[in-house]
Every structure is written in structure tokens, then in C-alpha cells.
């Protein structure tokens, strides 16, 4: 490809064509041609890479889901119809994984978004040390999830740091990760702790787009703090809110690292998730076809959320 692009003019206009054009037109055509050529040069690397490593794999997710493809196999993938899906829907681990994924999402979205908003409001004030507070709240975001999962795995031990802390208040903490009733909650708490700073920053950037005179007008009208928040801040954050809810939802659907490092889906599949199950079947068991079917279910979930986002943002534009 580089070879053909390297030529100065891949399809030079014939002399006859050029002679038919006026001087001005000739210059214009040449300029246009050099633009097209430069553009081809410049977009090709990115487009080729996106094609090979994003677009083809998207197509493959759909195609392989209907085959018996294995990661390493002497024979190529064969079409097996909806076999993977009927196996999937008959698999109790799939339903548990789907349930865990949805439960995790239902709790993580409001809790994380809400706490992040509280943090943002606490930071969006004129007091000393705002920068310091913001930096510290953000620390877990830049720390790798693998490290955080290991650290919290230790803190969650029956005789670990968290139960030690709870004991100060006379609370007898559970074996957080070893108990099927608390394992998912434990993962949830840790996940919120890690990512809340990220969403705090997004809320902050939303808050800072709100014009100050709105608040001044509110103050003159004698609005209380709550009224100011309810009638000024909250509606103004609509765009930010949609974005945050969508990103947390999609991140929650993709729950994987914490599970892989902390619980391996256990105990009793109480923390297995769709992506975890997909990776386990697709990678450890090398069943690419089956894993692609799982990925497809995951993709449909994401698509539904993204379409909901489209709908919500459109709704707003209409009201305007």
C-alpha cells in the first residue's frame, strides 16, 4: 500500500484533460489532488489499524458466536447455528453471572454517581486546600485496579484491616470475600472507592460550566441551599448526569479485573460476571465460539444503554 501511495500522483490526469481546463481550474485541481493524496497518507495508518483491530473483531464477535471456534484448533471454525446460545441460556452459571452483573450495576450506578456528586460539591467551594482534597480523592483512580484488588483482598480478610476497624465500633465483621452473601457487596464497595474520584472530576467540570450569576440571582430570591441545588444546580447538570450514568453503567457491565484477582467468581459463583465467564470459557477453556456468544450478550447490554443515552439526550433537545 505504501508503494502506491508513495508515488507523487497515483492517477495523473492526462494531458488532454488538463488542456481542457483553464489556468485557475488547473491550479484548483492540483491543489485538490494534493489534498486528497495527503489525506490518504495521513488517515491510512489509523484507519488500517482500526479496521484490523477494532472493526474486524466487532464483525468476528457476531460471526464466531455462531461457530464452534476454538482458540487453537486444527480444523477451522464450523457454523453451528444457535447452539452456543441454547447452551448459554441453559447454563445456570450464565444466569448467575448475568444476575450478578445486573445487581452490581443497579447498585454501583446510583451509589457511585451520588457519592461522586457529593465529593464534587464539597470540592467546588472557595476554601483553602481544594487542590489537595481533589488530588487525594483522585489517588485511587490512577492506581491500577489489579493493585487495588490485591490490597483490598488483604484488607477484607476475616482478621484484616476492615474487620479490625469495625471491631472498634463493636461490629463483628464477616469473612467478606469468603461468604457468598457478602462477596459481591465487598467488590462493590471497593469498586466505588476506586472510581468515585474519576466521576467527581466529571461532575466538577459540569458544575464549573454553571454561570455564577444564576446563583447570585438565587441568593437574592432567598433560596435555601437545598432549593439552589434542586432548582439551579441539578437541572443544569443534566448533560453531565447522562454521561456519568452511562459511563458507570458500561464500566459496571464490564466488571472483570476485581473478580479475576479477588474471588475468581466464587464463592459458589456469587461473584461471577458476564465478562469474567466469557474470559474463563474463551481463554482458560479456549472455547472462542462460546465466549463470543457471551460477548455478544454483553454487547447487546451495552448497546441498549447507549441507545437509552441517545434517547435521553434527544429528549432534552426536543424540550429546549
Amino acid at each position: 500500500m505504501t508503494q502506491t501511495l508513495g508515488a507523487a500522483h497515483p492517477t495523473p490526469p492526462t494531458v488532454g484533460q488538463i488542456e481542457k481546463l483553464s489556468f485557475k481550474q488547473r491550479r484548483y485541481t492540483k491543489a485538490k489532488q494534493s489534498q486528497r493524496l495527503a489525506a490518504a497518507w495521513m488517515v491510512t495508518p489509523a484507519v488500517a489499524l482500526l479496521l484490523v483491530f477494532v472493526i474486524i473483531p466487532i464483525v468476528l464477535t457476531f460471526a464466531l458466536a455462531f461457530t464452534n471456534a476454538k482458540l487453537i484448533s486444527p480444523t477451522g471454525p464450523q457454523f453451528v447455528g444457535i447452539d452456543n446460545f441454547s447452551r448459554l441460556f441453559g447454563d445456570p452459571v450464565f444466569w448467575k453471572s448475568l444476575r450478578n452483573t445486573l445487581i452490581f450495576t443497579i447498585f454501583v450506578v446510583p451509589l457511585q454517581a451520588g457519592l461522586a456528586l457529593v465529593l464534587a460539591l464539597l470540592i467546588n467551594v472557595r476554601i483553602r486546600g481544594v487542590n489537595f482534597f481533589r488530588t487525594v480523592y483522585f489517588l485511587p483512580v490512577v492506581t491500577s485496579m489489579v493493585v487495588i484488588s490485591l490490597l483490598w483482598k488483604f484488607m477484607y480478610q476475616p482478621n484484616g484491616l476492615i474487620n479490625g476497624f469495625l471491631a472498634v465500633f463493636g461490629i463483628d465483621g464477616p469473612d467478606w470475600l469468603g461468604n457468598p452473601n457478602t462477596a459481591l457487596v465487598a467488590v462493590l464497595i471497593m469498586s466505588i472507592w476506586q472510581a468515585v474520584g474519576f466521576h467527581m472530576v466529571i461532575w466538577l467540570s459540569g458544575l464549573q460550566t454553571i454561570p455564577q450569576d444564576m446563583y447570585e440571582a438565587g441568593a437574592i430570591d432567598g433560596a435555601s441551599n437545598w432549593q439552589r441545588f434542586r432548582y439551579l444546580t441539578w437541572p443544569a447538570l443534566r448533560q453531565t448526569r447522562t454521561f456519568i450514568l452511562i459511563t458507570i453503567t458500561i464500566q459496571a457491565f464490564a466488571l472483570f479485573t476485581q473478580i479475576q484477582v479477588m474471588t475468581q467468581g466464587g464463592p459458589l459463583d456469587s461473584t461471577s460476571t458476564i465478562v469474567y465467564q466469557a474470559v474463563r470459557t474463551g481463554f482458560s477453556l479456549q472455547q472462542t465460539g462460546y465466549a463470543s456468544a457471551l460477548s455478544l450478550v454483553f454487547f447487546v447490554l451495552v448497546l441498549v444503554v447507549s441507545l437509552a443515552q441517545r434517547y435521553l439526550t434527544r429528549d432534552k433537545d426536543v424540550k429546549k
Binding site: 495521513m42 467546588n124 476554601i127 486546600g129 488530588t135 490490597l151 472530576v201 466529571i202 467540570s205 474463551g282
Partner: protein, 304 residues
């Protein structure tokens, strides 16, 4: 932006969002108390990690029920660190991670900014559709693609003539170079640079590539910083993909390394030492450039 607000703070301690007329000392104390409590919530686990990395396991467990858990007291040494180096080729893992991250960021900056330049400042057929397709790929999370991609790269020809890219450096870098979101960020930034500059340069006989390299890129510092940070964090923190695509210990990045390490040993002090060695450099870098980091993340929210 909060930094400007912090300056104003010294003159007038009225909250921005919630200007309250009451400014009693009690309220101020409460205001700081809440925020400092939150500082503890976010900082203490990380401090615990760092402090524990200097203690033997008996000391770590012994300190758990007291404030000593967060203080470097008692039997403190560098033993855990030397144990990590004895047990695994830590520097090799570190070098792998640095190499992978640096190459992903640098190649990504070049490839994505060039594509964005063409899309934002040149005219060619199919431009709108191309941009649309690139942006559409943004809704697909990597986790959806990971397994089909694993199968796919295992069937791609490798440059030495063999088939399959698994277990190489390339497989940890090349798939992540082109990035729709980076293209989008560069695109919006380039779009805001006046086009008169291009015309002036054209008159002087500059080629489009010269305009990109000598005029537009030097003006794009903020966009370059944002894209670098937003590429750096996921590249450094990559875990799912190298876990699947790399088997050889010699190609392993630090984060997959720590996962294996934690399965090898039951010594938490050593795990904390390993964790500290991969976390502290990133945290130091974050604190040094915290404004740039936070602004980049804030920018990533703009697309909503």
C-alpha cells in the same frame, strides 16, 4: 480551574455553589472535618500498602488492630523488596511495561493526530462517513472484543512468516495504537485552530505534512498532553489483554507479574512491596502533573 478558585479563597471564603450568609467558625471547622475525613478514606488504604511493604508479615498482622498499621514502626526493613527481586525478574517486568506504555503512547500520538489532521483540515471524499464510522467504534467496550480479537490475532500472519501474534511485544502494543477517542480529541482541537495559518503556509510553499508537523502540532500542546495521559493510564494498567495474549515470563508486564506473584507467595509484605514499586512511580507522576491529569479526565467527560 479550581486552582483559580483556591486563590480567591484567601480573600473570600464563600462557597461557589452554595453561597451561605452564615460564616461561623464552627461551620468552617465542620467543613474541613468532613473533607479531612474523606482524605483518610482515600489515602489510608494506599498508605497502609506502602507502610506494610516495609514490615514482615508477623508485624503487619500484629499491627492490624491499632493505628500502627499506618505507621512505619516496629520491625521495619527492606527485606520484602529484596525478596521480590529474588523471586521474580521484577526489572524485566518493569522494562516490559515501560516499553509497551511508551510505544503505545508515542505511536498513538503520531498515528491518531495525523488521521485527525486529515479529517479536520483536509478535504476528501467520504470524510464525513469515515469520521462517523470511527466515532461509532467508541461505543464498543474492549471487553466485548477481547476474545474474538484473541482468536483473530492468533490467525494473523506475523512478519517473520509464521502465523499468530500471540506472545509478542507487538500484540501488546499495535492493537492499541489507533484509538477513536484520541482521534476525536485531536479532531476537535485541530478544528479550533484558525485555517488562515494553513493558507499562509501554503502560499509559502509548505506541503500538508509540513503544515501538520511544523504548524498544527506545535500549537497543540494541550491536546497532546490530554491524549498522552488518556493513553498512558490504560496502557500502563492493562491487565485483561496481556493476561490472555502473553505466556512468556520474559514478555510479561508488571501488573500481570504481580498477579502471578501473588499466587506464588502467601507473604503479604512481599506482595505489598511489589505493589508499592509499581504504584508509587505513577502516583508521584500524578501528583507532579495532577492538574494535567485531572483536566484530561475532565475532557473525557465533554463528549457526553
Amino acid at each position: 480551574m479550581s486552582d483559580t478558585l483556591a486563590h480567591v479563597a484567601e480573600a473570600d471564603p464563600v462557597p461557589v455553589g452554595e453561597p451561605g450568609p452564615e460564616r461561623s467558625a464552627g461551620r468552617t471547622v465542620l467543613r474541613y472535618a468532613v473533607r479531612l475525613l474523606l482524605v483518610l478514606v482515600f489515602a489510608l488504604p494506599l498508605l497502609f500498602m506502602l507502610v506494610s511493604s516495609f514490615k514482615p508479615d508477623t508485624q503487619i498482622f500484629g499491627d492490624l488492630d491499632s493505628i500502627d498499621a499506618f505507621l512505619p514502626v516496629g520491625d521495619v526493613s527492606l527485606d520484602n523488596y529484596s525478596a521480590v527481586f529474588d523471586r521474580v525478574p521484577f526489572w524485566q517486568f518493569m522494562m516490559n511495561s515501560v516499553l509497551i506504555t511508551v510505544l503505545t503512547v508515542v505511536l498513538g500520538l503520531i498515528v491518531n493526530s495525523m488521521a485527525a489532521f486529515a479529517l479536520a483540515r483536509l478535504k476528501f471524499r467520504g470524510q464525513g462517513i469515515l469520521l462517523g464510522v470511527i466515532l461509532a467504534t467508541l461505543i464498543v467496550p474492549f471487553e466485548t472484543l477481547a476474545l474474538p480479537l484473541l482468536w483473530w490475532v492468533n490467525h494473523l500472519p506475523y512478519y517473520d512468516g509464521s502465523i499468530g501474534w500471540l506472545d509478542t511485544y507487538e500484540v501488546q502494543i499495535i492493537p492499541f495504537v489507533a484509538n477513536a477517542f484520541s482521534i476525536y480529541l485531536f479532531y476537535t482541537y485541530f478544528d479550533s485552530i484558525p485555517r488562515e495559518l494553513d493558507e499562509a503556509a501554503k502560499v509559502d510553499g509548505a506541503s500538508w505534512f509540513t503544515i501538520y508537523r511544523r504548524i498544527v502540532m506545535p500549537l497543540s500542546g494541550p491536546a497532546i498532553a490530554t491524549v498522552s495521559i488518556l493513553t498512558f493510564l490504560p496502557a500502563w494498567n492493562q491487565y485483561l489483554w496481556p493476561l490472555m495474549a502473553v505466556q512468556s515470563e520474559s514478555l510479561r508486564p508488571v501488573l500481570v507479574g504481580i498477579d502471578y506473584f501473588s499466587q506464588l507467595t502467601t507473604n503479604w509484605g512481599q506482595i505489598m512491596a511489589y505493589a508499592s514499586m509499581i504504584t508509587v512511580p505513577v502516583l508521584v507522576m500524578f501528583i507532579a502533573f495532577q492538574r494535567a491529569f485531572i483536566n484530561s479526565i475532565a475532557t473525557s467527560g465533554v463528549k457526553g
